[in-house]
Assembly symmetry: C2
Homo-oligomer: 333 residues x 2
């Protein structure tokens, strides 16, 4: 029977799960609410249930699960399988040995990493980053995260927390960020920051189609509605989208100057705005980054969508040598 | 006879040279004007003369030179010994095979790297970075450069230009930088940027001891005079120094979030202001960087001064395996 891997991508809202083969194909998908904040044992139990559900599907699909990969948000020692804290899963989530618990319950080898790093690994192996050794993937959502590959290897930093490109300051006295700093690019271009910038202008009297799209409720404004209004030619929406691309470009020009990557991949829900956003990011990087760095880096959209997190989580096992990596396609180093 | 290495640290103003032993001691030092802009052959000839002068000194010192290491400003492929361009040596300096020319002339193995990376290597091996595997050294002078070590190895980036932390934007519409961007930390905190900030306030009517220290000539204002005025309690000078530390801290907090290093070493002439400057950088990083990154990183002064560039240039040979690295002290990996 064909072998496959169980993958789980744990988010603050949903736990996505799936079965992934050694060619990076997602054979099955599942999703259930995370029920964040309902207690560590409950959230952990729901992760276990997600693994169990995928294993159950495998026989009907004619494949045998040989390992489990997990993408977990928050702070962790990925190589030890230890999740230090994940406030958006549960306030009491501290020092959880996620992989040890999975291995004990299911008798399969398990590996974990940060959810954004899993996303980056998926895109590197089977998506927009195929064959590229030095790349950065950023995810644009509620927060702004990144996974960085240097010489083909995932970059962690000395303390395992490297790659926090969302918390580069681009405006000294800018809005307060969730990290406690002011003017981080995440505070301006995370989904709540984008919505707030539009909301503030509408509250100040600027006319915009955004308000009608939000059913007249300022609190219902989202980046998706702003994008739709911009597509319909709404001037405020166009301005907010351009500002977002500009702010992201300012931060990424700095990152590109420091890391000098070949490729910058932009993913996450907010990146659904496609070229309207990414074109402006690209333009700002070309304008602001140093000539050599700007000439080298390509700026592209992610290709795999939500599957990237599942594929990357699954591939942690062969990448870390827990499973014979020759089973993967040859494009994976 | 004891063996030693010839080191040359080429700057826009002076060519520093020396003999360095395998314990990182500088046995001899020399200095001559670079005569930048007088033609490629002339500048290159002066570099060769510096090497020859050090070799000549060696016999009297009882040591035999076994290799030449060079720190060169500008853009280069360090491992190939090819200097692409160095506008502050000569506008026509393009595609110069520096090490091949040195090897041919002197019959000794030669290696080169960017001058700031040599500085960082010196501090890593024998200065403030001894025994630390993940560190960033920044040099504060006319420009702001950096050398980054990850897992004990010099970081270059995919295109060899990585580590340009001086060109992180911290002020969207800030002053024009030499790189063409606006609001780079270098445009605000490079020596000309520091002087300009003081000058502008004095020109606008702010009373300050800086002007008297500069002999009444606004164009003679330097960071050193500003530092001296701050030591004497001058309010404008204190403000400019604090601003400088704050701006540097904003940029470095972002760098620390991305790279997650154990150590940030601050060197270069402007760092002569010591704790008055570095204390403010440290405070701003602690305030703005993410908790885990801020808790890990130590912020310290460089220890070796100008010798760092010579020691680092010399050590390129053993570090790259051109000379038996066991001859170096055991603290060198």
């Amino acid at each position: 029977m064909k072998e496959c891997l169980v993958a789980v991508d744990v988010g603050g809202t949903n736990i996505a799960s799936g079965l992934v083969d050694f060619q990076g194909n997602v054979l099955a998908r599942g999703k259930k609410p995370t029920c964040a904040g309902t207690g560590v044992q409950n959230v952990l139990g729901r992760i276990m249930d997600a693994v169990a559900a995928e294993i159950e599907k495998s026989q009907a699909l004619g494949c045998t699960p040989v390992g489990v990969g997990l993408g977990i948000p928050g702070l962790q020692d990925s190589l030890k399988g230890l999740s230090y804290s994940a406030a958006n899963l549960d306030p009491a989530w501290k020092q959880i040995k996620v992989t040890a618990q999975v291995e004990q319950r299911f008798g399969l080898p398990a590996e974990m990493d940060n959810d954004v790093r899993c996303h980056a690994l998926g895109e590197k192996l089977y998506g927009a980053g195929r064959g590229v050794e030095n790349l950065i993937l950023i995810t644009l959502g509620t927060g702004i995260g990144a996974g960085i590959f240097l010489n083909g290897k995932m970059f962690y930093g000395a303390g395992g927390c490297g790659g926090e490109v969302g918390h580069v300051t681009i405006m000294e006295d800018g809005p307060l960020c969730s990290c406690g700093n002011h003017g981080c690019v995440e505070a301006l271009c995370g989904a709540p920051g984008i919505s707030r910038r539009a909301r503030e202008e509408i509250a100040a009297g600027v006319q915009s189609k955004i308000l009608a799209l939000a059913g007249g409720d300022l609190n219902a404004v989202t980046p998706k509605l702003i994008y739709e209004a911009a597509l319909a030619g709404d001037p405020l929406a166009e301005k907010v989208m351009a500002q977002t691309g500009n702010y992201l470009g300012i931060a990424m020009a700095g990152v590109v100057n420091i890391i000098n990557p070949e490729l910058l991949i932009i993913g996450g829900g907010v990146a659904g705005a496609g070229e309207m956003l990414i074109g402006k990011v690209r333009e700002t990087i070309k304008k602001r980054a140093m000539a050599q760095q700007a000439a080298l880096v390509k700026v592209v959209s992610a290709e795999l969508g939500e599957d990237a997190g599942l594929i990357g989580a699954a591939m942690l096992l062969p990448v870390r040598g827990r499973i014979d990596s020759q089973r993967m396609e040859q494009n994976l180093r």
